[in-house]
């Protein structure tokens, strides 16, 4: 084949990166001043296709730089270097209520980025150029260790090197099953991290109690490659209940610092953690539906705010606590919960230990950066065989900015309290 000039070339730098690292996508050799669409495509582990795209116009030299130029629409607009990842959504024709989560962290996410002529109907065209980029949750040298003990089932990730390392116990919320990606990423950032399986996929039912988490904490703390006095806890959603308990009330363990993402603070006294499902079920009449019939569970939480037979007594916290919340959280009244906690903490004279990050237009699922935002996703409710679509909230652009900012601040918080800073006393 012979052409007057070779076609465009698209490059992604770096071509292989950790998921929280930014990349630069640029296209060269385009016709100058020409309309193009830059599109990312990813096939998830579930076999669904996700895509994002932006509409650009090349400059006089035939270049488009996604980091520098403005997108004129698509799944994102404006100057958005990473939107090809965070604005991804299922391609048209996909099942509804999907969620993008990587379960196998030892392999990378493969994202195909292509450029098409024009601003419309790119799906019918062959791209002008494309590149493949790898996005990893795990850095080379990180060890993955299965933990299968009686009380504690989970996965431990250990950074490369001699250690010892500070540790982070990673506790997820409902319905997830065993999620490893946040722990793998924490280990890639220098923290030994243990993620615990306690709520099977589709369930809010658990056999575990606070003591199981204390056992998990100790597994981490007693590991020969972990610094026993530098272990913190990171919990999200329902997992923050356990996190706050460990921070405030546990007599068996004492985390050096904790982080709660999308906090919750209530559990039934009579049955402890294992009764969370029933506790919620009692207030199911408070579920409202939005215009798409997506379920808003905020009301349950609000009703439980005063009703719940037990809360962690935040006045008893002994170490710094970072709360990360989204102001548009439709799944749980996180701000109201945080306000109550702040009151209690303040009254106990410990306001200096509490840090809050509240992000506008941000929903419930605050994930590591550049993960696609989903406003609502499917949930199979255990025991009922029903499928519901839960509304998490958040507006994509603001939510993605919150993910990027909060991750930086969470890492900085963890480093400050778990790694040695030069000003720390010996």
């Amino acid at each position: 084949m012979s052409l007057r000039s070779p076609p465009p070339i698209l490059s992604v730098r770096p071509s292989r990166a950790l998921v929280d690292e930014p990349f630069e996508v640029s296209v060269e050799n385009l016709p100058p001043g020409g309309p193009v669409t830059v599109r990312s495509l990813h096939r998830s582990e579930d076999g669904d296709d996700w895509e994002a795209y932006g509409r650009y116009v090349s400059d006089h030299s035939g270049k488009v730089s996604v980091s520098e130029d403005l997108s004129f629409g698509g799944t994102f607009s404006g100057k958005q270097p990473m939107a090809l990842l965070w604005s991804m959504r299922p391609v048209p024709g996909s099942r509804s209520g999907l969620r993008l989560r990587k379960l196998k962290v030892t392999t990378p996410m493969l994202v195909n980025i292509s450029v098409y002529r024009g601003h419309n109907d790119f799906r019918d065209q062959t791209p002008l150029a494309s590149a493949v980029t790898e996005r990893w949750y795990m850095a080379p040298g990180v060890h993955r260790v299965d933990i299968r003990q009686e009380e504690v089932q989970g996965t431990l990730f250990i950074p490369p090197g001699p250690g010892p390392f500070p540790g982070v116990l990673d506790i997820w919320g409902g319905w997830g099953g065993l999620l490893e990606y946040r722990s793998a990423l924490l280990a890639s950032r220098g923290f030994a991290s243990l993620t615990v399986e306690y709520l099977k996929p589709g369930e809010l039912q658990t056999d575990l109690e606070f003591s199981s988490f204390e056992a998990a904490f100790n597994i981490l703390k007693d590991h020969p490659k972990v610094l026993s006095d530098r272990v913190g806890v990171l919990g999200s959603s329902a997992g923050s209940i356990v996190t706050l308990y460990l921070a405030a009330e546990s007599t068996a363990v004492q985390p050096r610092c904790v982080v709660c993402i999308s906090n919750a603070n209530c559990y039934p006294h009579e049955s402890g953690l294992s009764g969370i499902q029933h506790l919620l079920a009692k207030k199911f009449d408070k579920i409202r539906l939005d215009e798409n019939n997506h379920e808003i569970w905020r009301g349950i939480g609000l009703a439980l705010l005063d009703d719940a037979p037990y809360k962690v007594d935040m006045g008893k916290i002994r170490s710094p606590v970072l709360l990360v919340n989204g102001r548009d959280d439709q799944n749980w009244p996180v701000l109201e919960t945080a306000d109550r906690m702040a009151q209690v903490v303040g009254a106990a004279g410990k306001a200096h230990l509490l840090y809050r990050l509240d992000y506008p237009n941000t929903g419930h699922q605050i994930e590591p950066p550049f993960s696609p935002h989903f406003r609502a996703t499917n949930l199979a409710i255990d025991g009922t065989k029903d499928k519901a679509i839960l509304l998490w909230g958040g507006e994509t652009k603001a939510h993605s900015e919150a993910q990027e900012d909060s991750w930086k601040k969470i890492l900085s918080f963890l480093r400050q309290h778990l790694y040695c800073s030069p000003k720390a006393k010996i």
Binding site: P6, R13, S15, R16, A139, G141, I426
Partner: protein, 493 residues
């Protein structure tokens, strides 16, 4: 002695004074001074020469090991970004959470595809915040000196006790090099025994970007490997030729494909799938023409945007293909090679005589290592093999390593330039010339082999390639950028 001599001799004459290749001290000090470091040293008013070695070694003994590590103090953090990279991408290595103003050693090691251990190390001091970075801070000792962000990679040497005459070349481009980088307390020599590892990070270094396809070529007698970039194409292409080491080297082609060029690494000598006796070149002009046509006819290649790159003997082949076989490349890159054959030709198609039979121009240094340089002196090349440069119709970039001990690169470059000028074609010629660089100007950040094993039978022979570590590394980095820009200009616009 040296301060007077300083004004009379070039900086690079001084390099041998700073080499300490035998470990005679408890501190094994191997400093390969960069131009910048030499400047720093002279600013420090230390007179280059033997006294430098003694002064710096003395400093090292003063600092010693740091006794502050205890179980209640967390370990520092060593990071590399990006942690998976192509070999020509810069990696930013940093250490944090150290005590302030504290001496540390960064130690890198990796295994070659053959299983040999390669390593390098450098000495740094943390700043007041307990941090340091290879991109901002100077190495004050070890395998390299001065601020060298990629110094750990290009200064690697075979670990003590390894096989002799090694050269680092990636055989399997589908896997990365795994480099283990450790942070040690104090200014130590890692092979010296007593080390305390504080932190570590593993980096992957790739010769192939994700999505690049590797295709073994065995058709129409052509023996090679083709690499195709991801995407629909079509793409400009490169024919990739190495020297008389023979065999099939894929790593430059896989890198070129990672930059968007379909690239064909072609075997022509010393490969089991090629015809005829293995000690001579049995393929001629038709073979190379067929390889070029293979690229042209590939459905994903822009047929009028194909270049050729050749190193050493590959230079001569590049020029011969462009002037004798009727194909029309868009540009040529020649590195350190002759404009005629270094082995007598046996026919008009370019087949040659037995390679090693013609040894009259071999010279030997005082350690018995063979120097091939004079073989390619224009006066010594068979006149019937000289390429007719007046027939050149495309741009040519010629790259010279001024310390090339294997080929008379400067003399050949001069002659090529002169011939082109005579033919009224100087506008086609570009020369890059690098002082202190040797014969093996390869993709950046790989260690230079100043000499390596050439043959084991009939007798063991080590050959000199030339080049000193720091200037050769600088040459590789600069040349690669300029090669890519050159290809961009002539194959993409």
């Amino acid at each position: 002695m040296v301060t007077d001599a300083l004004s009379n001799i070039s900086l690079f004459d001084l390099f041998p004074l700073l080499f300490a290749e035998r470990a005679t001290d408890a501190v094994m000090f191997r400093a390969h001074a960069s131009v910048k470091a030499m400047g720093q040293l002279t600013d420090m008013k230390i007179k280059p020469g033997c006294s430098v070695y003694r002064k710096l070694a003395g400093l090292q003994r003063l600092t010693g090991k740091v006794p502050w590590i205890s179980s209640t103090r967390p370990a520092p953090l060593l990071t590399a970004a990006p942690v998976r990279a192509l070999v020509d991408e810069q990696i930013s290595i940093r250490g944090r959470f150290l005590p302030p103003r504290c001496p540390v050693t960064v130690w890198a090691r990796m295994h070659s595809d053959e299983g040999d251990l390669w390593e390098s190390f450098a000495h740094y001091n943390s700043n007041e915040s307990g941090a340091f970075s290879l991109t901002g801070d100077p190495s004050v000792g070890g395998s390299y000196l001065g601020c060298e962000p990629m110094g750990l990679f290009w200064s690697m040497q075979p670990a003590p006790g390894g096989r002799e005459g090694l050269r680092l070349r990636k055989k399997n481009v589908e896997t990365p090099y795994l480099v283990h980088i450790s942070l040690l307390g104090g200014h130590v020599s890692p092979s010296g025994g007593q080390i305390s590892e504080l932190a570590a990070v593993t980096a992957e270094r790739w010769y192939m970007a994700p999505g690049v396809k590797r295709i073994a070529i065995h058709q129409n007698g052509i023996v090679g490997t083709m690499f195709v970039p991801p995407g629909p194409g079509p793409f400009p292409a490169m024919l990739d030729l190495w020297g008389m080491g023979g065999g099939l080297q894929e790593y430059r082609s896989s890198l070129l494909a990672s930059k968007g060029y379909v690239s064909l690494s072609l075997a022509y000598f010393g490969h089991k799938d090629l015809p005829g006796p293995p000690d001579r070149i049995n393929v001629g002009d038709l073979y190379f023409k067929a390889a070029f046509r293979l690229l042209q006819d590939h459905p994903q290649v822009v047929s009028d945007r194909i270049g050729i790159i050749g190193l050493s003997f590959g230079c001569y082949l590049t020029l011969r293909i462009a002037t004798r076989t009727g194909v029309k490349p868009s540009c040529l890159v020649c590195i350190n090679g002759p404009m005629g054959s270094t082995v007598p030709l046996t026919d008009s198609d370019g087949r040659t005589d037995q390679f090693d039979s013609f040894q009259q121009y071999w010279t030997f240094d005082d350690e018995g290592r063979v120097i091939f340089k004079d073989v390619s002196l224009p006066a010594n090349l068979p006149p019937d093999s000289f390429v007719k440069l007046e027939k050149l119709d495309c741009p040519l970039m010629y790259i010279v390593g001024e310390d090339d001990l294997s080929a008379s690169s400067t003399e050949n470059a001069d002659l090529i330039e002169e011939n082109l000028r005579t033919a009224g074609k100087s506008h086609l010629f570009t020369r890059l010339s690098y002082p202190g660089a040797g014969h093996l100007i390869e993709p950046p950040y790989s260690p230079n082999a100043r000499s390596s094993m050439w043959s084991v039978k009939p007798k063991k022979l080590i050959t000199m390639w030339g080049g000193h570590p720091a200037p050769h590394a600088a040459a590789q980095e600069d040349a690669w950028k300029k090669i890519l820009d050159y290809l961009e200009k002539h194959l993409r616009s």
